[in-house]
């Protein structure tokens, strides 16, 4: 058991180091994040002035920062798995002493963690400079960030699930894009769900995006232990569902590879 987890920790570490060395990629990501913060800070500043609501930008920009940390840190997991399955690369790994899926997942988490960490550190500084006082108390912040990191791991898991759809689909590009867009809308990734009509929020509650994104990120301006527990419980529920799907798809894939080869 210890040996087995050490292998996956090593894979995580390797991928972390590899992602860390891609300075140009990370600079582009940070540039995009800063531009987003800059634009939406201006938008909420203008709306706040227009509606005479003070510090509206502070609430929404901290919210946006955490939302983007979850979304932008995702390492295109679906494309990696899709390519592995379609090109037959997966066949090379099935006889190795590691689970192919866990190997790719740990690599994905390692990759994601670098972007998440950097965006969290530098993004917090920029957001603090843009908005001054944050809408949370500082002791809550590490807990909120940890919750968001867990959400990012779940996010990567969902995209891995999409990648495994290579079993049935010739292209997953549109499916991944639709998933991303649904996450933006139902997860309130740019504008919090609190500004949407009630009928829309009622629909969103039935989707995994509601807890993975909205409930988790909302902690930044509405922290309470009950909100935190609600987010954790709902996330556990959705993770169980996606794990059932992944287990089924992966078993089918393994069987196919064993019978037909890569």
């Amino acid at each position: 058991m210890t040996d087995s987890s050490a292998k996956y920790r090593a894979l995580f570490g390797l991928s972390f180091k590899q992602a860390w060395s891609r300075k140009a990629n990370l600079s582009g990501l940070l540039f995009f994040l800063f531009i987003l913060l800059f634009i939406y800070n201006r938008l909420w500043e203008v709306i706040g002035l227009q509606d005479n609501v003070k510090r509206l930008n502070s609430t929404f920009i901290w919210y946006l920062l955490l939302a983007e940390m979850i979304i932008l840190s995702s390492p295109k997991m679906e494309r990696i798995l899709f390519d592995d399955v379609q090109s037959g690369t997966m066949a090379y790994y099935v006889n190795k002493p590691v689970s192919f899926f866990l190997m790719r997942y740990c690599e994905g988490i390692g990759n994601m963690s670098v972007s998440f960490l950097l965006m969290g550190l530098l993004g917090s500084v920029v957001t603090f400079v843009l908005t001054a006082a944050p809408p949370f108390e500082w002791w809550q912040f590490p807990l909120i960030v940890l919750m968001c990191w867990v959400s990012s791991c779940i996010n990567v898991l969902f995209y891995a699930g999409i990648g495994l759809c290579a079993l049935w689909l010739n292209s997953i590009r549109t499916l991944a894009m639709a998933f991303e867009r649904l996450a933006f809308i139902f997860g309130g990734a740019i504008f919090p769900l609190s500004i949407y009509p009630e009928w829309f929020v009622d629909i969103a509650k039935w989707t995994p995006f509601y807890s993975i994104y909205y409930l988790t990120i909302k902690l930044v301006y509405d922290f309470s232990w009950s909100n935190l527990c609600e987010a954790v419980l709902l996330n556990v529920f959705w993770v169980s569902l996606i794990l059932v799907f992944i287990g089924y798809a992966y078993a089918k894939l393994n069987k196919k590879v064993n019978v037909y080869g890569g």
Binding site: G28, F31, R42, N170, R173, M177, A178, I185, Y196
Partner: protein, 264 residues
Amino acid sequence: MADKFSNMLKLFLFVQKSNLKTAFLSKGDALVNVVMMTVNNLSFIFMWWVIFENKGTINGWNFGDMALLFGVMNNAFATFALFARGVQQLPEFIDNGSLDNFLVSPRNSLFMISISESTFANWGDYVTGFLMFFVSGHVTWTNFGLFLLAGLLAFVIMYALRVILSSLAFFAADTQRLGDNVFMAFLTFGSQPASIFTGWYKIVFLTIIPAGFLSLYPVELIKEHSTAAFLIMLAGSVVFFLLAVKIYALGLRHYGSGNRFGVR
């Protein structure tokens, strides 16, 4: 010169015809992708509709103005993704040496790279673009002409910026995602109500990231039939295009072959 242009046009049309044929090998798949893209765009526009429903206007802009902006942006992006998307792959071609395949061709290499990739799903952007024009509340024949013109000029600026970003790969390694992210930032900047950018925000909006050419001036051009907006867009597209070609040519001089054999 005219012959050269006519040959390039023939080749362009031939490639587009092939792209369409390839896409329609699986008609169902192609149509589903277009519909998904349209739904995808409309869901983004829905977010803004919610904001405008709540707030009415944002610094003088209403949902009609946003619809015009989305119309122009979607049309420009559709043109880019359908007819010139290959330029997005330029860093990859440079990094793995497959640029050589384009350089040995007797045609203009930038032209060949640009038309080397097309995503059929982006026809959905045209659907969204025209739909947005028709719901904008500014529907007249003159406005429709100006809408098409604004989309074309916005495409040239978008394309030129992408060429500049992709050409970074001539000077530094592993710049694919850097270019993608900066390009995304440019598109995101351009998808905001231009009225929120005043003072020094406006300077950034028109210079460092020239997204104002995609949002501010097209809307002014269509709504107010502003000659100034047209001239600024025209000048912007000419300047950015020439700059892009210059940077690409400069990059080519830096390029060392990948020694990869193959002809395209």
